[in-house]
């Protein structure tokens, strides 16, 4: 019993009719309460997006940008490497060339797009080599051409050399090649042709006996095929010069300077200046030798 409560009066009071607030009053109150509750909840979700929105956006931007930059870099590097079977060492040599040591066994070099000189000398070289080459042995010689040359040796065949040789070889399988040559050529063709990008993966060293030298990447094949198509129409020089530009990126400074020196000896001062300009752009801190200053 509640203190001071008159139970008799309470019973009578409870029998009284129960007035109720109108429905509209109920609706107004409940609507207001829900509106306020909605406003209370929203900041919780908005607060999350407000707090984390900017950092997440920045992180996503950085991630996407770096991923795209990395992809572009790898694509460029991959497309520059014509031949895919480059051991990791071959790639690092692009940055810091290491002279082959005398005590090391001379292993067949990986087939890479070798540094080449600008277009005109290449065209000349192409013509002179074409003249020297005999038609029958082209496939075999082409297959072993890369294997004979170390990656960055001065006498290494230029990419355009390989290119031109393959251009000449290409018709050979179609027209019944000699047996030995065709076998070697088949071996070459059956050699795994990994993706150009895989050139950056760790690969087993190439055994001298097998030397699957010119197993080109699909991209490189396409380039060569288009080069052979364009051959004779005069567009080959443009193509080779484009290749030269891309290869110039791969050249070591020493090799580049050597090419420039050759140009200087040939008396092509305009090209020498242009090459020197590019060289300085690419290696601004490189100290030029006396004869090229």
């Amino acid at each position: 019993m509640i203190e001071g409560r008159d139970e008799e009066l309470s019973k009578i009071y409870r029998d009284a009719e129960e007035p109720r607030p109108p429905q509209r009053v109920d609706d107004n109150i409940l609507a207001a309460s829900q509106r306020v509750a909605g406003n209370l909840r929203r900041p919780a979700t908005f607060g999350f997006s407000r707090r984390w929105g900017t950092p997440v956006a920045v992180a996503a931007t950085v991630l996407v940008t770096s991923t795209v930059a990395l992809m572009v870099y790898e694509l460029q590097s991959g497309s520059d490497a014509v031949a895919p079977q480059v051991p990791r060492g071959g790639r690092t040599a692009k940055v810091s060339p290491v002279e082959p040591r005398a005590d090391q066994p001379r292993t067949p070099p990986p087939v890479v797009l070798q540094p080449i000189a600008p277009a005109p000398p290449i065209s000349q070289a192409l013509q002179s080599e074409r003249a020297e080459q005999r038609p029958g042995e082209s496939a075999a010689s082409t297959a072993s051409a890369g294997a004979r040359q170390p990656a960055f040796a001065p006498e290494a065949p230029r990419a355009s050399d390989v290119l031109s040789k393959r251009e000449e070889v290409k018709p050979a399988p179609a027209t019944a090649p000699p047996a030995a040559a065709s076998e070697r050529a088949r071996a070459t063709q059956q050699a795994p042709a990994p993706d150009a990008l895989r050139a950056f993966d760790v690969q087993p060293p190439i055994r001298p006996a097998q030397a699957p030298a010119a197993a080109p990447a699909p991209g490189a094949n396409t380039l060569r095929e288009s080069a052979s198509t364009l051959q004779g129409s005069g567009a080959v020089s443009a193509l080779t010069s484009r290749v030269a530009v891309s290869e110039a990126k791969e050249r070591t400074p020493e090799k580049w300077l050597e090419d420039i020196r050759k140009l200087k000896i040939e008396g092509k001062t305009g090209e020498v200046e242009r090459e020197l300009g590019e060289f300085k752009k690419r290696y601004p801190d490189y100290r030029l030798p006396e004869d090229l200053r």
Partner: protein, 189 residues
């Protein structure tokens, strides 16, 4: 903060509503809607004013959600708001008697302990009518004390806290109210 029946207490519901739980408010409203409305209606005797104050009262509850601290029972808190709104209303409408009217214990002692008439005990409908009429004739403070006890089942101390008076004053008002009502119900039959 759970009730005996395992339901969430009023205080817990109010805190939940303060955190944005609209459903908690609905429960709270459904519990106190009718008693509060009856309290206001019988205190004011006017449905229009009662609706206005009722809505205003609940809007104050809604707007106080963030500041609510369960230092006392929710009932005491919400009826205190109702009391303050009534005081404002009385002031605005020139009903100052509420503020000045106080009965003394000595007067109370003189009141006869009336018995409710026998016929009213049998005729409940008439008894209710008579009670509501007698309730309307009570001084505002006494009626408020009686209504608070009936509608919210508050103790003397809680009534005192809600109305801002001492427990003795609250007790006095309540006793006066009961005595007067009984007297009215016993006089005429």
């Amino acid at each position: 903060m759970r009730s005996m029946r395992g339901e969430a207490s009023d205080e817990e519901l109010m805190l939940r509503y303060g955190r944005g739980d609209a459903r908690a408010f609905e429960l709270l409203y459904s519990r106190h809607r009718l008693p509060l409305y009856r309290f206001l209606l019988r205190q004011l005797g006017n449905a229009e004013s009662a609706e206005e104050l009722f809505q205003d009262l609940w809007m104050r509850v809604v707007n106080s959600r963030g500041r609510y601290q369960p230092r006392a029972k929710f009932t005491s808190w919400v009826y205190a708001i109702a009391h303050n709104r009534l005081m404002d209303f009385y002031r605005a409408n020139g009903r100052a008697s509420f503020l000045s009217h106080e009965e003394s214990e000595s007067v109370l002692e003189d009141l006869p302990a009336a018995e409710i008439a026998a016929d009213l005990r049998l005729d409940r409908k008439r008894a209710v009518k008579r009670l509501l009429a007698a309730l309307g004739e009570l001084p505002d403070a006494q009626r408020e004390a009686f209504l608070l006890q009936q509608e919210s089942e508050m103790s003397i101390d809680e009534i005192a806290a809600a109305t801002g008076v001492g427990p003795e004053t609250a007790k006095s008002r309540l006793r006066y109210a009961v005595a007067k009502l009984r007297a009215r119900l016993g006089k005429e039959s």
